[in-house]
């Protein structure tokens, strides 16, 4: 976007500034509505067990899966519950997957005295060849074997399997299917170019000055203070900025002060206090010019369990008076200019990465969309609020843009569905390590990365590279 329009006007930088500086009004907001209502539970009652989440997940997704099963294996396919299985009969069963993993961190093993084990260090992946898949429905469970990829799947997915029960009590799977893409939403997108900037992992408070320069360059580009007239007019087409989590760096999370004696830590301040002040100043610069949606992430000062509630506005005294600042939940769903956005700060994808053989963040993101659930591993390995009425992470409508933050690199893909769904999948990279943000064009659902870098101490100019 930028480089095509910038090149002809770059000559403008070589001449004296014009007497009347041109102004570029930012594109107005056509329509915005926040659809994240299900992610705000309202009440906060932790006196329940997690069995309710799994029960409503299965009950809520069962009709969709039965429909898909009939479509795939014939309308005369026999649907059975596990308690009604007969040995040798080919039938279809809908249930929740459970993966029994040897390396899965278990708090009971850690505190068990008879084992005398040191708690295992965190591993990048917890999969092992000896893992087993078990299918559970409301009453029973059965081990699965056959045409099902044990390494790839994770606990908590709702699946329909087709096969028969063997004599040894295991279920031999011949075929399986997921909920597939949810029904499509009507398209009301804009007819002219409009951009949404997606950035995540700003990583403030890490103590590194390099990342701050790139962040400042990003803010300057969006507010139109950088570049010649070509770039400024392009930046005026950015209608929104979404910051997808990890605004603070992991370094602000050190809890050494808890272990030290009180008299040593009396005058110290939590590292996150300074970092939030920096965040406030950056948000102030952005909010004066463009609507900003701030999603919390793994290291941000909000609750740990999903869905994470918005940051409190008392932490951002400079930026919160502006109506352009929207503090939103993680996951976040909204209609921006007629286009439905749905995204998370990446905890769901990185949790599936740890417990599955899938390595590519974009592949995992696509798989969650096809499985019909934003984060199937919650509440097993990812913290989750104990819902009881309904599971808000079930995908009921197909979004137009589906993103996840804090990925190791930028990737995007346009997925076409059989029922006319068009989804743009975007993995937003971690800004503090890659200095890359994404620009999504709402008119034709394309996405391009934009990279900022400074050349380091020996060269004093900060340069802006635009990467495609």
């Amino acid at each position: 976007m930028f480089s095509e329009q910038v090149a002809p006007t770059a000559q403008g930088l070589l001449g004296p500034p014009s007497a009347e500086p041109p102004t570029f009004p930012r594109v107005p907001v056509l329509g915005y509505s926040d659809c994240s209502g299900p992610f705000r539970p309202g009440e906060r009652s932790f006196g329940r067990q997690y069995a309710h989440v799994y029960a409503v997940r299965l009950a809520g997704m069962r009709p969709t899966l039965e429909h898909r099963a009939r479509g795939r294996w014939g309308s005369d396919a026999v649907l059975r519950k596990l308690s009604e299985l007969q040995a040798g009969e080919k039938c279809c069963v809908v249930g929740t997957l459970f993966k029994a993993m040897q390396l899965q961190p278990s708090i009971l093993q850690e505190i068990s005295e008879e084992h005398n084990l040191v708690p295992q260090p965190p591993l990048p992946k917890y999969i092992q060849p000896s893992d087993e898949l078990i299918l559970e429905d409301e009453l029973q469970r059965i081990k699965l074997e056959g045409a099902i990829d044990v390494q790839r799947l994770v606990t908590g997915t709702i699946v329909a399997v087709y096969g028969s029960e063997q004599d040894d009590g295991r279920f031999l799977v011949e075929d399986h299917c997921f909920a597939d893409l949810p029904p499509p939403l009507p398209w009301n997108g804009p007819t002219s170019d409009r951009f949404v900037l997606l950035a995540s992992g700003l990583g403030l408070g890490s103590g590194s000055g390099e990342a701050l320069l790139s962040t400042q360059l990003l803010v300057d580009v969006v507010t139109g203070q950088l570049g010649a007239e070509g770039e400024q007019s392009c930046a005026a087409h950015i209608s929104r900025v979404i910051l997808a989590g990890n605004l603070l760096s992991q370094n602000t999370q050190s809890r050494d002060t808890i272990n030290k004696a009180k008299y040593l830590t009396k005058k110290t301040q939590a590292a996150s206090v300074e970092a939030v002040k920096m965040l406030d100043e950056i948000l102030l610069q952005l909010c004066t010019s463009v609507p900003v949606d701030v999603m919390p992430g793994e290291f941000d000062p909000t609750n740990y369990t999903l869905p994470q509630q918005p940051l409190h506005r008392c932490m951002l005294p400079l930026a919160s008076p502006y109506a352009t600042l929207h503090l939103v939940t993680n996951p976040y769903q909204a209609n921006l200019d007629g286009v439905r956005f749905l995204g998370t700060s990446g905890q769901n994808v990185s949790d599936i990465f740890k417990y599955s053989s899938m390595d590519d963040y974009l592949e995992i993101l696509e798989w969650t969309l096809l499985a019909g659930h934003i984060s199937p591993t919650a509440p097993d390995t990812l913290g989750c609020y104990p819902f009881y009425k309904s599971d808000p992470f079930i995908l009921t409508e197909c979004p137009h843009v589906y993103f996840c933050g804090n990925a190791p690199c930028f990737q995007s893909k346009l997925l076409q569905g059989a029922e006319g769904q068009r989804v743009l999948l975007v993995t937003v990279p971690d800004f503090s390590t890659t200095q890359t943000a994404c620009l999504v064009n709402l008119r034709d659902l394309t996405c391009q990365p934009i990279t900022f870098s400074g050349f380091g101490a020996e060269d004093e100019d900060g340069d802006m590279e635009v990467g495609h």
Binding site: A55, V56, E138, Y388
Partner: protein
């Protein structure tokens, strides 16, 4: 009326003295669980005992206060409680612990499992009786 439930208002009812076995009714697994005296809906959480004079007055007041509260509504009959207990133990409507029976009924209705209507009417009619609103395992935490 079955003698196995302590009637609210009688302080210190030794419920074990009127066991189900003595009454000739079939035994239950729950008979071996410790019986806990439940507080009625309107009983104060814990009155400070006055050290002197007002003790008798307070006791007199307690007796007077308890009797009218015992009958704002007729207590639910055991058949109703039995029906509610069976509703709790029905596996089709999902787990029953940690939520009230009305919440479970509403959830089953929303998921299209068609729970029986008379149960909801009974739950709304005896809304302030904790034996009716809470599930079978309400007193056992989590």
């Amino acid at each position: 009326m079955g003698g196995s439930r302590p009637v609210p208002g009688i302080a210190g009812a030794a419920a074990s003295s009127m066991s189900r076995r003595a009454m000739g009714q079939p035994r239950r697994i729950t008979d071996s669980f410790p019986r806990r005296r439940r507080r009625g809906p309107g009983r104060p959480p814990g009155r400070l005992k006055d050290k002197d004079k007002d003790k008798e007055e307070a006791q007199g007041k307690a007796k007077v206060r308890d009797r009218p509260r015992a009958a704002p509504q007729p207590p639910p009959d055991p058949a109703l409680l039995e029906m509610l207990r069976r509703f709790d133990l029905c596996w089709e409507y999902g787990p029953c612990t940690g939520i009230t029976r009305l919440q479970r009924w509403e959830r089953a209705q929303a998921l299209g499992l068609s729970p029986p209507g008379p149960i909801r009417d009974a739950l709304l009619e005896h809304r302030d009786n904790p034996d009716v609103t809470y599930s079978l395992w309400h007193e056992y935490e989590l």
